[in-house]
């Protein structure tokens, strides 16, 4: 690798003043291949869209590959009322929103002590936190379930909010600590000399600087929590408390024999994600490199 590097750099200088790369003749061919690959990837989304808004009669007559003859929302309405989907959306949004906020705040507090306070044992703390979130949830789910039952938190949104605030903030601490680790010392010292308390330094000096990072972390917490399945499945048994992800996971058991209803179900499951995606596309695709640990 070192060899390639040195060769590359040697010739780079020679080429720097040289020509731009020529437009290859095969470029349209490559582009078409990539477009086909992308079309295959996105085809399932397209299928749910054209079938979720079709009437059952239309589906039976023309199959899933034809465009709908007329737009018919009856399957969507049926699945919506069948699962009380509005409530599921609200539960998911409430849980994910609370986790995003609480998780980011706890990440910030931890990272303040680790990244700026440089408390003793920082490295050990980070390693334990990371191991804690990398191990499978299967090995903590039963004790959590048991504790929740014993304390009356079982089947409450709060139990799931607490669990994911802790799990997500373990990861957020890792990310924010490295960001705060390189925070300019002089700024903090200047504020301290001016008589700012540690609490004031955090809120009036550190937070304004790292707010963009906190927003990225919060966005990720929101979507990760939205997509979580095992723990909400175990903890939220009653219909009124289920999340979108759990409701989707349980549709197979409900035996939706009508294929249009199935398409409508996936369309409703996909819709919120598409909305997040359109809002946060740049954050998501760029920030994922940082999120590689998950």
């Amino acid at each position: 690798m070192a060899e390639i590097l040195s060769i590359g750099q040697g010739t780079t200088r020679a080429a720097a003043t040289g020509t731009r790369r020529k437009l290859g003749p095969g470029r349209w061919f490559v582009l078409v291949l990539l477009v086909i690959a992308l079309a295959v990837t996105l085809f399932p989304f397209f299928l749910t869209l054209i079938n979720g808004i079709k009437s059952s009669v239309d589906y039976a007559a023309n199959g899933p590959l034809s465009l709908p003859k007329s737009i018919d929302f009856s399957a969507i309405v049926k699945f919506w009322t069948l699962t009380d989907f509005g409530l599921k959306l609200w539960n998911s949004a409430l849980i994910s929103g609370c986790v995003a906020i609480a998780g980011t705040i706890i990440s910030l507090l931890n990272a303040y002590a680790i990244g700026i306070g440089k408390v003793r044992g920082s490295r050990v703390i980070l390693v334990i936190l990371l191991l804690g979130i990398m191990v499978p949830q299967e090995s903590i789910v039963y004790p959590i379930y048991y504790m929740a039952k014993a304390t009356g938190f079982y089947d409450s949104l709060l139990s799931v909010i607490i669990v994911f605030t802790v799990l997500q903030s373990a990861f957020g601490t890792y990310l924010l600590s490295s960001v705060l680790g390189s925070f300019p010392r002089e700024i903090i010292e200047a504020a301290e000399i001016d008589g700012a308390s540690r609490w004031q330094v955090l809120w009036f000096v550190v937070v304004p600087v790292v707010r963009p990072t906190m927003l990225v972390i919060g966005t990720f917490f929101f979507i990760w929590t939205w997509n979580e399945f095992l723990i909400p499945l175990v903890m939220l048994v009653s219909n009124n408390h289920q999340t979108v992800s759990v409701a989707m996971g349980l549709t197979r058991g409900q035996n939706l024999s009508d294929p249009v209803l199935q398409a409508a179900a996936s369309l409703l499951g996909i819709a919120p994600t598409i909305v997040f995606f359109l809002i946060f596309q740049r954050t998501l695709t760029r920030g994922v490199a940082a999120g590689a640990v998950k």
Binding site: M1, G8, T11, A15, A16, L23, G24, R27, V30, L31, L34, A37, L38, T41, L42, P64, I106, S107, N110, Y112, G117, K118, V119, L129, L131, I133, M134, V135, P136, Q137, E138, S139, Y142, P143, M147, V166, S178, E192, S197, R198, N227, F229, M248, G249, R252, P259, A265, S266, G269, I270, T273, I274, F276, L284, T285, V288, A289, A292, V293, K294
Partner: protein
Amino acid sequence: MATAASNNPATHLRGYYLYLIPGALGFLLIVLIPQVANFVLSFTAWKGVGTPRWIGLQNYQRLLQDDQFWGSMQHTLLFIISMTIIPVILGVVLASLLFDYIRDQFGETLPSLFRAGFYLPQILPVTTAGVLWGWILSPVGVANMVLRAIGLGGLAQNWIGDATWALPAVSLMIVWIQVGYCLVVFMAGLSRIDPSLYEAAQLDGAGWWQRLYNITVPMLAPEIFVVVLTTLIAALKVFAPVFVLTAGGPDNATLVPSYLTYYHFFTTQRVGYAAAIAVVQMALTVVLAVIFLRFQSRQQAV
């Protein structure tokens, strides 16, 4: 706290420890105590009510003779193909096509559009993906319709209801989900490579495949390592795709450790036994995680 800027380093540090308290309490309650409790439970026989009965290593002995458990471990190995191997290969090729060719020929916009499109399945709730693919792969679903339409009706299968095809069918969905993750990480990695490296190689007569092999792959080695390890860890935890599409069936053909754990915890109520499976899963994950963390800290040290 107000006089934090004192010169004594000991009092200087003490104030910061307070900020760890909420996080530490939560972590203790939600991760550490349950983890220890699960470990202890794996040495007991317990139905979830009453007092657990200490049985030593019996759960682990039973595990070694449990065909379901070994079957689930085999399936995990097979899921490595769809979680790690295929997505990494596709991800490298796609990322390098987009970075080293499309960006060069068509500008910056197209690669980011492609990246966003390939990434979309990755942020979908897995259970939603499961509903979607369950519908596509059902006996009367789109997959079979397409096969019949192009004259390959003989290949039509009951994809998720047939023990031979269920695992490949679930794998197909997993590949669909995973490619975007690999692609995005690899493209982020490529962005730190100097494009003139490619230009120089091209001037020296290196074709696209040669550049892929001699520049892209070696330069992406850290990202490839990270993606391989994180997806291996994820392969050990595959749960939702199996739960939604096949529930471990048909005939245990898609059983995975996570599903087996869930099944014994909450259906057969053999809590001690399920805890033992979870401990095995945890131990394997920790091994991979430690390799990963050592690598990460070496990277940061450089």
